[in-house]
Symmetry: C2
Subunit: 216 residues, 2 copies
């Protein structure tokens, strides 16, 4: 059975991992006959957003502890990730990817990347194992790799940031998967283009299926 | 288009609504051609549980504010719920249902029920509109109605609590839907029996399909 490491960045679209995107990624992985283990870095969230009002809250939360909500407690610190035990690495979206795992929301193409995240991605690249990134997460992959083809759908501002990182942005619909053969990187827009939860699941099915295909 | 009111109790299995169950309920509703609006009571959570360790945290969180994470911000306070605008009411599970919406975890069959929740359920019963409850949520419905047939799968302790409330517990598998024709109440076990996320989605599909069938 092929085994996916799913990297989470908290719990909730505005300060963590988008919940539908994460859940439907897990559903697609299982439905297509593979397995998964969730991971998250044991770090503070950049901030906490009230998802009802959009305002910042005067609270501190931990990325791993909050991501454990999505994983029903079955999650490991990213420091435990061993690339030899997994066939693929995958990043659902949500602003947490661009606030907690890297700093694109604040620093644009000059963003810095969490060291454990960078290490995990580079190790998988070295082993030529597939890496998937959805929604806003392709900015993280573009920042780490540089010269790579990715999509965030049709969002021009984010595409411009990606191009400034040295990557190539490919416009795509919610059900498209952009594949970079050279690096074995797979990207799809999820809620960057999907207008409802059913379309997100179509994207999840398509990207996981495409990744499984190259695993043979 | 048939319209479901989905009632949430927070965000996370141990102190709120179980995230996969909520997300897959929304997916099933949309996939089967209906629509939804999420609601939650604007009340404090009973407590906050660290989902990594299972320990209680010294924090205060609000049920509506945290449930907004699952709803991507598109949620209304339960005080805004008007039964005339909806064709069905549905409760995904998670301990929050039995800690925040009622007190079954602490008080067993003597549990008290949040007044807004009780009002919403009783109004839908009066209008003979279908009510769905998954996982642990049937305890809430049993407490409100009393004489009703429900399932929480094969959990004997919870079944006993339900029977003490005056309800009848029917043993069921993860893909079964128990239907109480008299009250138009639908229940299915979700993670009380499902061993993975694919089985939860099968339950979601089955209960939403069964509810849509009686709506005609």
């Amino acid at each position: 059975m092929k085994n996916f490491a799913v990297i989470l960045a908290g719990c909730g679209i505005y300060d963590g991992t988008e919940i539908h995107e994460a859940t439907l990624t897990l559903l697609a992985i299982k439905k297509l006959g593979a397995g998964y283990q969730c991971f998250a870095p044991d770090i503070s969230q950049h901030h906490v957003i009230n998802h009802l009002t959009g305002d910042e809250m005067n609270e501190k939360r931990n990325v791993l502890v909050e991501a454990a909500r999505i994983a029903r407690g079955d999650i490991k610190p990213l420091s435990d990730f061993n690339p030899k035990n997994f066939d693929a690495l995958i990043f659902p979206g949500g602003f947490g990817v661009a606030k907690n795992l890297c700093t694109v929301v604040f620093d644009g193409f000059n963003a810095s990347v969490n060291k454990e995240i960078e290490k995990a991605v580079k190790e998988m690249l070295k082993l030529k194992k597939p890496i998937g990134a959805m929604c806003i997460a392709p900015v993280l992959i573009a920042k780490i790799i540089g010269d790579v083809n990715v999509t965030v759908g049709k969002d021009e501002a984010t595409a411009e940031t990606i191009e400034k990182m040295g990557a190539t942005h490919i416009t795509a619909n919610y059900d498209d998967v952009v594949i970079d053969d050279k690096h074995n990187v797979f990207t799809t827009p999820y809620y960057m283009e999907a207008t409802d939860i059913v379309q997100v699941y179509e994207g999840a099915h398509n990207i996981v299926e495409a990744m499984l295909k190259v695993m043979g």
